[in-house]
Assembly symmetry: C2
Homo-oligomer: 386 residues x 2
């Protein structure tokens, strides 16, 4: 059976790119991915972008990017599923290659947020919620995550500062990632002292919106030329699932059902169980998301996801390394590009090219992007080839 | 080899739906398509939408629609390529089914424009152009189409009123389409008297923005149950191609290169030539687009596409029926839903269920949606099964 391989990855650094436009960010990632794959040219381009229509008055972005990046003529499509956009874009490329209609697919996630004020960005991100019933009432994604965390703290016995280990680990890993937005380790004490943003979420519980672009080049296994700059990585499984868009429609808001379902489906499709996973690029937009995602995936019982934040368990040489290049918290959260960054980082791990961020003997990676409060979950299993 | 079949279609009427929101329009089309297919439930939903982020402050629309339509849990993705959105959404569903990962895919195009003023809608549609270099200068899609037509009239010998036959035919066909926005035939004299909008484009050269939702249900051929309410229609070929986003970057603005390329590729993939095409659902957003699309497809030489507008050539019993249910001009132009409407109408033709709009002995249909001035072209060949 055909397998879909990732034969190249590329990324820009994540941060506030005042000097680059949307198309320029995408171009830099595309130049990097094409060089990384030894010059292979794609036939189709899938652009994951969340907020260009709202923040840059630009729709039709995939055709613009294809044109600007010198890929004129290729098939080009924008795909969007809020925060899960990058993961859904990877799946679009994966399905295109698997279908046999596209031999080489380029997946690019790109986002440009820093041209707008923080409140404009917050409002744009809130369009991922139900605009008639949630955003309209002023409910931002952050306020919603705060409600979730409050509920979590109410339902379960959770010690003070229990979540600190998530951002502390993220920042420790981000410190050695040259592409991270924040390259500075933080101490648990800093977490304890951090200013409250939307109680009980403090500054370190929330990932920073950012600019960036990341890219991956996908090829069907039988088409991979024998000599390649880097060892290809296989997409062992791909799954997208959804839940209610609005949190208030769920019987149990603390259950990330779409995340649960898509992890189970991805593991089943890949023929693996959780024990075989060497690292998990989790969607740590908020530290409460990390805990709930660990529970949904099955790494923890209900109400116990926070226990992974204990010393060392999720660090690079721990039992289950998370956010290996800093995650959304320290690498940064470039909207629809985020899911593609996660894939790029997992590929670096599986190639053994993660440098100071290397997870020892990484062979199987779980990668998950979430849209809204896990209203959409895109989960992929990536595997190093033998 | 697997074939992808359309086993159900659904649509709302096109017009100003003051009483329905985006999600309700989508729901109506989904209820119709599920009933039309005998109750089949999809595993994946591809929503084609162009302007919800700009006009309705709603991203993440596919998950919202899945949730609201009672399809909670299914894979859901928004795809967008400006005016070509509906065609690109069909292709997304097609690739998903062809890949083997999705057995039943639901493609929904939905757009809601009437909540906003005409100038807000124009500005939103202009985001399909290059926002930094075109829209920013006030160049709307209509102004751009006017420039194209002006150039056409300058380059070629075209008699006065040569384009009249396009809207006259569209309105003749729209008159008997119960879902059309305009159900009234017009006379060539009306075209001659029509008010100028953006010279040389008059009111009848321009399709009206509208609200609407349309849907198609796709299944892999080997999975089609033996008893089905309606005879399935095959997707014989699918192709998406792009050109420069901006008109000013093209060596020849009167050459719709992406349209040419995608028609050639679709015909080659379907193993047909132009003579076998019984009807063409052309993207008549502007009558100049119709002429240029006919030339790009190869139905006319350069500078001669307007000749098809002569008496009877493109009517339902003519040599090449176009816009058989009224086209964008009379059925209406519901943004990203348009390409799905075209598919729904072609399926009705190939089933022999087009009623007063039936093209005699229709077996092969060409369907094309364009984004911007054919910056993106999505072309499909649909075929009645033996």
């Amino acid at each position: 059976m055909s397998e879909v391989l990732i034969v190249g990855v590329g990324q820009t650094s994540v941060g506030e790119h005042w000097d680059y436009s949307l198309r320029e960010l995408a171009l830099h990632a595309i130049e990097a991915v094409i060089e990384d794959s030894g010059g292979l040219r794609p036939q189709a381009l899938y652009v994951g972008n969340m907020l260009a229509p709202a923040l840059s008055s630009q729709s039709h972005l995939a055709t613009l990017v294809a044109d600007f990046a010198g890929l004129r003529g290729v098939e080009a499509t924008v795909v969007e599923a809020a925060g899960a956009t990058g993961g859904v874009a990877l799946r679009a490329g994966y399905l295109a290659v698997l279908s046999g209609q596209v031999d080489v697919a380029l997946v690019v996630g790109v986002e440009k947020l820093s041209d707008r004020t923080a409140s404009e960005v917050d409002a744009a991100i809130a369009t991922a919620s139900d605009s008639d019933y949630e955003a309209e009432q002023g409910l931002t994604q952050t306020a919603q995550a705060a409600l979730l965390m409050q509920r979590y703290l109410h339902e379960f016995e959770v010690p003070e500062g229990a979540f600190a280990g998530f951002p502390v680990t993220a920042h420790a890993n981000g410190a050695s990632n040259p592409n991270a937005m924040f390259r500075k380790a933080i101490k648990p004490e800093s977490y304890a002292r951090a200013g409250m943003v939307s109680a009980p979420l403090n500054m370190f519980d929330i990932a920073p919106p950012a600019d960036g672009a990341a890219a991956a080049l996908l090829v069907r296994s039988e088409l991979v030329p024998p000599k390649f700059p880097h060892k290809p990585v296989g997409i062992a499984a791909s799954s997208v699932a959804t839940d209610t868009l609005a949190l208030h429609d769920r019987p149990d808001p603390l259950e990330f059902g779409a995340a649960r379902h898509s992890v189970a489906q991805a593991c089943q499709r890949a023929g693996i169980d959780l024990e075989q996973i060497d690292l998990f690029e989790v969607f740590d937009a908020y530290s409460i998301y990390t805990a709930l995602s660990l529970e949904a995936a099955g790494f923890a019982e209900r109400g116990q996801g926070w226990q992974w934040a204990r010393d060392g368990a999720i660090s690079l040489d721990g039992e289950l390394p998370l956010m290996t290049f800093g995650g959304l918290k320290a690498r940064g959260y470039p909207g629809g590009a985020t899911g593609v960054y996660q894939v790029v980082e997992a590929v670096q791990q599986l190639r053994g090219q993660a440098g100071d961020n290397q997870v020892p003997d990484a062979e199987v990676a779980l990668v998950q992007a979430l849209g809204g409060p896990a209203s959409t979950a895109a989960t992929h299993v990536l595997r190093a080839l033998d």
